[in-house]
């Protein structure tokens, strides 16, 4: 099911916490969500706030996994930021989760592989964007997607983060062979940003697909770069905007797409094609809590 009508927040105990670098944590919680890659939960910490977090794992019979990155001090927009407070949680504490919400990467499956054509899916992850793409890589490695070769591009800040992801990403063996890593400071893998890894991925046919998740600058630049290889319909990205209701009502997460069409990230997304978003707010504008539309400074 893509969307469960239950709207109440379920109490899920944290069963395990893993560190990924200094500012990212992977929370493993009691399971029970029937989510597809790309969907998100609204995670509630009572007396604090409620925030959208993408599923890294969300199977009814498996534990839930959520990766959360601490927002850097200079970008924090409230007195008690959720991403900082959540780092105070310990194994045995609970988060309250409602979901899954949104659409899924699976709404945009790789093209034409079922015709026997060999097809490649490039999963392009900037930092914590690796979490939902890890979920996607598992799905794309199932029998349903035989014929799709998955490559995983990961951009991390430094060695600690790169190694942390390498350990935590649940990549199928075939994908592990096609894992490319870059670090900003060059302490692991290639020095540079994740789009620099495009030089190393080999041949890209027009039928290939790019699935991109990460900070806005990665969404923007990786999409532009991918557009040199494939049609804009084959470039799929997970957008992120500030959310208040998470259910398609309030309009706070609005993002303007191509041709000026208004989309809500929580209801029309968070997964969009580059064709839907190119030339709009992507990389340019976002809304604050008050709804104020401001240029994105990165």
């Amino acid at each position: 099911m893509r969307y469960q009508l239950k709207g109440y927040s379920e109490k899920k105990k944290i069963t395990h916490i893993d560190e990924i670098g200094e500012d990212t944590r992977l929370f493993t919680l009691e399971g029970g969500f029937d989510a597809k890659p790309g969907q998100f939960v609204m995670a509630w910490l009572p007396e604090l706030s409620e925030k959208p977090v993408s599923f890294m794992a969300g199977d009814p019979n498996r534990e839930t996994k959520l990766a959360i990155k601490k927002v850097p001090e200079h970008k924090v927009e409230s007195e008690r930021p959720f991403s900082h407070e959540v780092f105070k949680l310990r194994k045995g504490d609970s988060m309250y989760l409602r979901g899954p919400y949104g659409n899924s990467f699976m709404d945009f499956p790789p093209k034409n592989y079922y015709n026997g054509a060999h097809n490649t899916a490039f999963l392009v992850a900037g930092g914590v964007g690796a979490a939902p793409l890890s979920f996607l890589s598992e799905e794309l490695s199932t029998f349903d997607y035989l014929g799709v070769e998955v490559s995983f591009l990961l951009g991390a800040r430094n060695k600690a983060e790169a190694e942390g992801w390498q350990e935590q990403l649940n990549l199928p063996i075939s994908v592990k062979d096609n894992l490319f890593i870059s670090t900003d400071d060059g302490t692991f893998g290639k020095k540079g940003v994740v789009t620099d890894l495009f030089d190393d991925i080999g041949d890209v046919t027009e039928d290939s697909s790019f699935y991109i998740c990460g900070p806005e600058v990665v969404l923007q630049q990786a999409s532009e770069r991918a557009a040199n290889y494939v049609p804009e319909d084959n470039i799929i990205l997970s957008a992120e905007r500030y959310m208040k209701c998470g259910d398609g009502i309030c309009g706070g997460c609005g993002i303007t797409g191509s041709d000026g069409v208004g989309y809500l990230v929580c209801r029309d997304g968070p997964v969009f094609t580059y064709a839907q978003l190119k030339g709009g707010d992507l990389g340019k504008y976002r809304r604050l809590k008050s709804g104020l539309r401001i240029p994105i400074q990165d």
Binding site: M1, R2, Y3, L5, G7, Y8, S9, E10, K11, M42, W44, P46, L48, S49, E50, K51, S78, Y96, N103, D107, F108, M243, K244, C245, G246, D247, G248, I249, C250, G251, G252, G254, T256, D259, G260, V261, G262, Y263, L264, R267, D268, T273, D281, R287, L288, K289, S290, G291, L292, R293
Partner: protein
């Protein structure tokens, strides 16, 4: 060419189709492009004098039979809305309505004056329940006929555009028989005498609460919230019926509250509404042309509108014929 679902809300204000979004849903000018085929007008989120963050999340819960929210009047403030309208006004091919709120008459008029060049009509928010304790706006104004009068007069000092005073169901619930000094009819008459064009009813039902049994505490950060969605429709219908019955045939009425099925639109029209708004259920209505199906969307806007048209055709009637027909 006007469709079968076109109405004249006022002499010069054509709403085609007769359905608008409720204030607070979709909310901002940039979110409306793509809805032109489905909504007859676009209503902005209530605009205040200064920017306002609103309440901390959680601010909302949606359930099958209702929604509850305590957004807290978050809005970018009048200046930012003007800027956004300057950029987007020409992209929005439908009449635009600005909902406005303030806690002084001067503030109210100030917002109206600045927005006047950019919008086609106004909604006075005299009904929001999600105000701060002690804050004298929203439903605090709406329960006082004298205050309503002074706020509407302040608006009329700066604008000649159509103005709809939006009131809380609390007034109707308190005294739906119009027997006391304070009720929906009394405040509506006060608004009209002061220069309002028409009345919009209802806003959310105030004082609602959701308790998370998992967390064993209220869900909304503001504790109480306004209740919308299917459950409140009968209250909205009753309010519109009462308004049409008591105010007569000529006052324009916008009916809102719990519209979920196409038939609900017809119900509001028969109760006396000229045009209607959809709030909560808009999250479940899909614009055509999406490249995939979303299970949570129960209906497409196209089907929704066609169902209303089909009914009118089957009955051999038109919106203006059935408007208010249920009111004795």
């Amino acid at each position: 060419m006007a469709s079968k679902l076109s109405v004249n809300l006022t002499e010069n204000l054509v709403i085609d189709p007769l359905i608008m979004n409720a204030s607070g849903v979709l909310s901002y000018p940039a979110n409306f492009p793509g809805w032109e085929d489905y909504l007859g007008a676009f209503v902005l989120k209530s605009i205040g004098y200064e920017p306002r963050d609103g309440n901390e999340t959680p601010v909302y819960r949606g359930a099958p039979a209702y929604t509850i929210n305590a957004m807290g009047l978050n809005n970018p403030g009048r200046e930012a809305v003007v800027r956004e309208l300057e950029e987007y006004r020409d992209h929005l091919e439908k009449p635009l309505c600005a909902s406005i709120f303030a806690d002084t008459e001067e503030g109210f008029a100030g917002i109206a004056a600045e927005l006047d060049p950019y919008v086609d009509f106004f909604e006075g928010n005299y009904s929001c329940p999600n105000i701060r304790p002690g804050e004298e706006t929203g439903m605090e104004i709406g329960k006082d006929p004298e205050r309503v009068k002074s706020y509407v007069r302040a608006f009329r000092d700066v604008s000649e555009k159509p103005f709809f005073a939006k009131f809380s169901p609390a007034l109707h619930i308190y005294d739906h028989r119009n027997q006391s000094d304070i009720n929906l009819i009394k405040v509506s008459e006060s608004a009209l005498r002061a220069g309002a064009t028409g009345i919009c009813a209802i806003n959310t039902v105030p004082g609602g609460m959701e308790i998370s049994i998992e967390a064993r505490q209220p869900l909304l950060s503001a504790r109480y919230g306004g209740v919308g969605g299917p459950g409140i429709k009968p209250v909205g219908i009753g309010a519109i019926y009462s308004l049409r019955k008591n105010l007569g045939d000529d006052v324009p009425l916008i009916g809102v509250g719990g519209i979920t099925y196409p038939q609900d639109v017809l119900e509001y029209v028969m109760a006396g509404a000229d045009a209607v708004q959809i709030g909560s259920h808009l999250r479940r209505l899909e614009r055509e042309g999406t490249i995939y199906e979303i299970e949570s969307r129960v209906e497409t806007m196209g089907n929704f509108l066609e169902t209303i048209e089909d009914w009118l055709e089957r009955e051999g009637t038109a919106l203006e014929e059935i408007r208010g027909c249920a009111v004795e």
